[in-house]
Symmetry: C3
Subunit: 347 residues, 3 copies
């Protein structure tokens, strides 16, 4: 799995500065690279480490084009790194074809080169597109549709009638299409509201390990094209997440809320139900969003406030003991002044 | 799966206003209903949408009984919707009987019409009540008892000796009866405390996807009758949750804490260990409860405070920059006043 | 499974005060013990309950050595309890040998007395050490190495090339080695960064149910010796957790952060990426750590602050309405004083 530096430069359309025939057999972080590895520089902090790095070669931006080492110079070193790293990825072995230890329902339709591992259960009427991979222990409910080139890691559950697009990646333990959390309180206890809807996951989505995405009460819960969910994210029923949004680990979105395109939720952030976060909204880690947010706004804190307001409030919060002391001083000085004046008047 | 409007009205004991023979073939949200669907109105916001709705008929409260459309009038439209929705639920297929690809231990006792899917493991001495369903990939430990009409979704794990009541629903990926988190610190590291207890889940409980409910160190962790847990909820060892409580997604309850009846925990809320939340306590989303709370109290924030106190503090928090400025102004004015007086005295 | 009190005292090296031949057949909490059980006292609160306890005998510290009941007196009753509880643990049945319903890849190497349950998948080249147990529904990726005496509960997923040490316990639903969350934003959407690294779990670690520990982008994510993770914990790519650290449920650690030895994270706490928590740092429940923390410091709140500072700020926060009122009073008094003085001057 070795490549020459020249090949790698060509792959990423970069400028080669150094011996084209230099053999590269791996990729590693700048401080861990061996003399067989290529590495990359994405900022000053890493540039300093480069001096002592044993790496054979460096992927750098034009800013570092004069480094006296073998280089590939590109406008976006991080993207070039991602592309080159893909070459050095150890090959994952797919189960060849359909395991005899899988269980297929009636009317299952599988595309070409589909891989179904042992202990996978496909319900009646499931459809899986070409070259998709379903790893061991996955359970796919009836009439689920999975697109082409999808990659479903082990022990994923996708429940009845949900829809998964092309090139979708779902990591282990994720549950797609569990019942939304809907109950009517009655004197006899909570009466369950049947959850008739589905989950729709559009193309190029990636869903992290142990995420839970609930089916809609009616209609659909929809994860837009290119959305990336980190691990342990909760998406409640009837939520819509717009294209190319990104949700960091352990964040949660309550029922019927709507996220626009390119929204970003930080880790452990929460969004209450029935609100809208318009395009480009950014929510800080651990923030709690309690009302709709206009396009492009950055919010922080719980309850969430606009970014500048939060920072200003937080700075003042740090001054509270000082403010308290100054308040006490003022009271005393005013007291003294009043006393002095009253004495003066008396005298 | 079509019904007449008259049948639906009779089912929910509602007043029919419109043609009894009108055929209804589905149920949908007011803004998505087709001319074949029934829908429902639960507030002014939805009533406004009704004017342009294509729905064939509406489930409404007496307040909207004069709407010039086919109606079913009931005191609680939301409950009537839940009942009617159940009729239109697409039938989920149960595995017929016991799959040959399941693995049953010694002394397993199964009731009538039990459904055991492929790749299910039942440990020695497991008992499952009549009409209960255990879906693919579930692993049930030895001597677990599951009641009647229980529904265990795929890839659930229930560990040794736990007890699951009648009509309990457990969603995919939930883990019932993992070890409680108990260690004794020693100079050599943490010494594990064996977790000898069990989890008891009473009748009519629903447990969300990827929840974790730990077994007790000694005795039991108990989830009371009718309790509903949303997804990704953590219940630590020796916790007790009283009847008809409701725990929203990603909330967590630390060890030995006791929740009374009809307690509500908001999403991502946390409760520390060894405290008591009495009957009817309500905890806001992302709140952090650090001490026991008396019956009926509503608490918000982290650390959690009574509802009104929190709102008052939060309102004052927003005024911090203004307060700081007013404090500075006061200091200046007092300074000026003092200076003026001292000048006056001097003169 | 009965023991005499004398045997139990000898086992924990405690002083026996009472009849050596007293038969003990279980262990229970002080308020739930039957006359056949031994119990333990770990503080005044429990000492009071001892008076009415039906327990046959008590494990106590020297402080309680004069209690007029059968006793085992030890310096650390909690540790003695942990050791005695292990005796009364109901035996968990291991699958005898390798199930015929498991699926083993090529070149799998299993040590002596390994237990592999049904519906387990071991990828090519997996190595499992002596006496390790892999329960039903686990999926172990290719070239994974698992040490000796490891215990992998049902439905765990360990992905390719990860490394699990000796005596490691992994609870159900945990996912070890899912892809780290790394993307390069491009005008066409997020470009996935291949995650080439692995997860290394050192000896004596325990991982809670439904935890997610991501593989490194390059290099490794490392969980140090003796670390204990509670349930639903998120550990992002390239994180390092030092020896004997403890992470409570639902906490999360973002990418590339480094925790020293004996660090403690409270429940639902969050740590941002690329920072360092040095040895012995303690983080409160729900805290949000946004920058590196020096050794031994205790931090609370979101954003996290040193313990005393947080408590001081929080105390002042509670006084905000009072401060506001005092500020208003000051303004009025100063106004009155100024008015009075100006009148005086005029007069």
């Amino acid at each position: 799995m070795s490549r020459t530096l020249g090949d790698l430069a060509a792959l990423v359309g970069g400028e080669l500065k150094g011996p084209a025939h230099l053999v590269i057999s791996g990729i590693a972080a700048v401080d861990q690279a061996t003399p067989q590895d290529i590495t990359f520089i994405t900022g000053k902090r890493y540039a300093r480490l480069a001096e002592t790095s044993q790496a054979a070669a460096f992927i750098v931006s034009p800013e570092y084009a004069e480094m006296p080492r073998p280089l590939i110079v590109v406008p976006h070193p991080y993207l070039a790194y991602a592309r080159i790293a893909a070459l050095f990825m150890p090959p994952a072995k797919r189960w060849p074809g359909i395991s005899e230890q899988a269980c297929l329902g009636e009317g299952v339709e599988l595309g070409e080169e589909v891989s179904i591992s042992p202990f996978v259960c496909l319900g009646d009427g499931v459809k899986v597109g070409d070259r998709s991979t379903i790893m061991a222990g996955c359970v796919i409910g009836q009439e689920v549709v999975i697109g082409s080139d999808a990659l479903i890691y082990p022990n994923v559950t996708i429940l009845d009638r949900c829809w998964v697009g092309n090139r979708v990646i779902i990591h282990s333990g994720a549950v797609i299409g569990g019942d939304g959390f809907g109950f009517v309180p009655t004197p006899q206890g909570f009466h369950k509201i049947p959850q008739l809807g589905v989950v729709v996951i559009e193309d190029d989505v990636e869903i992290g390990a142990n995420c839970t995405i609930d089916r809609a009460a009616l209609g659909e819960t929809r994860i837009g094209r290119g959305v990336k969910l980190d691990n342990l994210v909760q998406v409640a029923h009837n939520v819509t997440i717009g294209e190319h949004s990104i949700i960091v680990a352990q964040a949660g979105i309550a029922g019927s809320s709507k996220l626009g395109k390119q929204v970003a939720l930080g880790g452990q952030a929460g969004v209450v139900g029935h609100i809208e976060l318009q395009d480009g909204v950014q929510v800080g880690a651990q923030a709690g969003v309690t009302h709709s947010i206009p396009a492009g706004q950055v919010v922080l804190g719980s309850p969430a406030r606009p970014h500048r307001e939060f920072l200003n409030l937080n700075a003042h919060f740090s001054k509270l003991p000082e403010m308290y002391q100054r308040l006490k001083n003022l009271e005393e000085r005013l007291q003294q002044l009043t006393a002095a004046l009253s004495k003066e008047t008396e005298s």
